[in-house]
């Protein structure tokens, strides 16, 4: 096979743990937007509690994530330069605006809950119209998906080959992780009533996720090998596929089918949620790490995926 002394043709990403964390939390923020919409405006106290938990958490994440994003820049003091333009051709640009708008919507929703709880004057409720709930859900879907578009709209062969799969399973992983986080919070709050529903949502998201990942793997070829083979492949298999999807799925299925004693059931929920969250993080980490390996393979870069 022809090459130039086997030297890499492309330059790999300079992205590390902070970007992985950003992608992971972005996915969760997206999923929380959906759960906040699903639990909106319901009379049951349990739903109300869930609604509040998701809105406060989403807002907290919206506050944490920008500093994480900023920390990866070569010149962090110039972060604001991203806000001087809106660029539809650049998912990085749209994503930053998505984050800004999402934070606004999440802030409005959190404010309404604070007013509802009597923590801030109740008149402030009217500052935040209820339309921000579906808006946050829509922006959330964007937040969970754009990170997938961002990496597949690059020259890195692995990411480019996943132009359909990566955005799709990013959304699924975000929804599953958000359900897991909500389950975890509800378990800790003793809000057991909502857990079966959250776990069913998590199972649906994980099922769609694993099917999409499997289909991506089946595509095969040189471009996808770095994600499914070697050190990265093993980590992905152990922590995401088995530990993060299969095992929690079984745990959630057992929880749905059998009535376990309360304390054991709580432990089961916590274990399933933690595993799902770890799996979600490792999925993003594997994507970035495998992207670096993919960039080093000139043979995969000579003919780039369409």
């Amino acid at each position: 096979m022809k090459s130039y002394y086997d030297r890499p043709l492309l330059k790999g990403p300079h992205w590390g743990a902070n970007v992985v964390t950003y992608l992971f939390l972005g996915g969760i923020m997206g999923g929380l937007g959906l759960i906040s919409l699903l639990s909106d405006d319901r009379p049951e106290p349990a739903m109300k509690k869930l609604r509040k938990a998701t809105r406060y958490t989403a807002f907290a994440l919206a506050a944490i994530n920008p500093p994480i994003l900023i920390s990866h820049l070569g010149r962090p003091e110039r972060f604001l330069n991203m806000l001087r333009i809106v660029k539809f051709k650049s998912p990085m640009s749209l994503g930053v605006w998505g984050l800004v708008l999402y934070s606004g919507a999440a802030g409005a929703n959190a404010l309404r809950e604070l007013a509802d709880d009597g923590i801030v004057p109740s008149a402030l409720r009217y500052v935040a119209p209820s339309a921000t709930v579906p808006i946050q859900a829509l922006l959330g879907a964007f937040m969970a998906g754009y990170t997938g578009v961002l990496i597949s709209a690059t020259a890195i062969p692995l990411w480019a080959a996943g132009k359909r799969h990566i955005p799709a399973f990013s959304v699924c992983s975000g929804a599953a992780s958000a359900s897991a986080l909500a389950t975890l919070l509800s378990t800790l709050q003793g809000n057991h009533e909502v857990i079966p529903r959250l776990e069913r949502l998590e199972m649906a998201a994980s099922a769609l996720e694993i099917v999409t990942i499997a289909d991506f793997r089946k595509r095969g070829g040189r471009a996808t090998a770095p994600l499914f083979e070697g050190r990265v492949g093993k980590r992905l298999r152990d922590y995401t596929i088995l530990g993060g999807i299969v095992v929690p799925f079984v745990l959630n299925a057992v929880g749905g089918a059998v009535r376990l004693p309360k304390s054991i059931d709580a432990l089961r929920s916590i274990a399933a949620s933690m595993l799902t969250l770890i799996g979600g993080y490792v999925l993003r980490e594997s994507l970035i790490e495998a992207g670096k390996l993919s960039a080093n393979d000139p043979q995969a870069a000579f003919r780039q995926p369409s």
């Binding site: 030297r7 492309l10 330069n81 859900a137 997938g148 020259a155």
Partner: protein, 284 residues
């Protein structure tokens, strides 16, 4: 009127004068020395601080007359694409197309996000490592920088780092009517600078001449290269297939994948929202 480079592999003698002239004019620090053993190429690749790189394609073969070594050298550079992946990806608008039709990184706007790096189908642009100033800068071999540039955070890309770097097609020289440093220094006119149309004419004539002499010559990037990228303002005359020089045969403009990506994400989100609605509100 767009300007560009026509770089001709059949004229290159591998002297690396272009690499040196570029480093000197643009005050680019050394990337360090590594003995690669790959023919005479110890530069290895373009980088944030190496904007010309001479490829050495070395082949050995045996026939009745004994061992034969053949060389083909060509000086690689940023292609200044008609549709540039780096420019489209840049979220700050630091990368622009200037009045000479070249793709230019404004170092005072770039925030070092690194998105352009993975968005170049040719692996050209890279981040310049963030370096300190004063004593720290000396450690990185920046001692040769003039103090005024070292202290001027606005223009001295290399002095502070943390930003993206690549060939500027000597924007500063072009503005005062000078030829880019590499083309000026090239002793064989393997690197020719000029207006694109005129370079195309010259390149086509050159290919004809070479083919008459039985040389296998082809142009790379003079016409639309496909994948949505269009023609390259810095194009090449090669005697081997592109892979031999570490150039992609079928490069693709990354942004062309976005529509499909957003559609796939929307489909997944819609599916999950529907299922979620049934789970949470199916009874309402």
């Amino acid at each position: 009127m767009a300007t560009g480079f026509f770089t001709d592999a059949t004229l290159c003698i591998g002297c690396k004068a272009c690499e040196v002239a570029c480093k000197q004019w643009n005050e680019l620090p050394s990337d360090g020395f590594e003995f690669t053993g790959n023919s005479y190429d110890n530069t290895s690749q373009l980088s944030g601080t190496t904007w010309r790189h001479v490829d050495f394609v070395e082949r050995e073969s045996f026939d009745e007359s004994g061992l034969k070594t053949s060389w083909s050298m060509v000086s690689d550079v940023c292609k200044h694409c008609t549709n540039a992946g780096c420019l489209e990806a840049c979220p700050t608008g630091a990368i622009v197309r200037n009045e000479f039709g070249s793709v230019f990184v404004q170092p005072d706007i770039c925030n070092g996000c690194g998105y352009c790096v993975v968005s170049c189908p040719f692996g050209v642009i890279d981040l310049i490592e963030a370096v300190g100033r004063g004593d720290d800068a000396k450690k990185y071999g920046l001692a040769t920088l003039h103090d005024d540039r070292l202290n001027d955070r606005k223009t001295a890309v290399q002095a502070t780092g943390g930003v993206a770097g690549k060939c500027s097609l000597c924007f500063d020289r072009q503005r005062v009517g000078m030829v880019p440093a590499c083309a000026k220094a090239c002793p064989t006119e393997s690197i020719q600078f000029g207006e694109i149309e005129e370079l195309h004419e010259r390149a086509k004539r050159r290919v004809e001449t070479l083919q008459e002499r039985g040389v296998e010559a082809r142009l790379y990037g003079a016409d639309d290269i496909g994948g949505g990228i269009g023609a390259l303002n810095a194009f090449f005359l090669l005697t081997e297939s592109p892979e031999a020089y570490n150039l992609p045969v079928e490069p693709v403009l990354p942004s062309t994948r976005q529509t499909m990506g957003y559609a796939a994400a929307a489909a997944a989100a819609l599916t999950l929202a529907t299922i979620g609605w049934a789970i949470f509100r199916g009874d309402a």
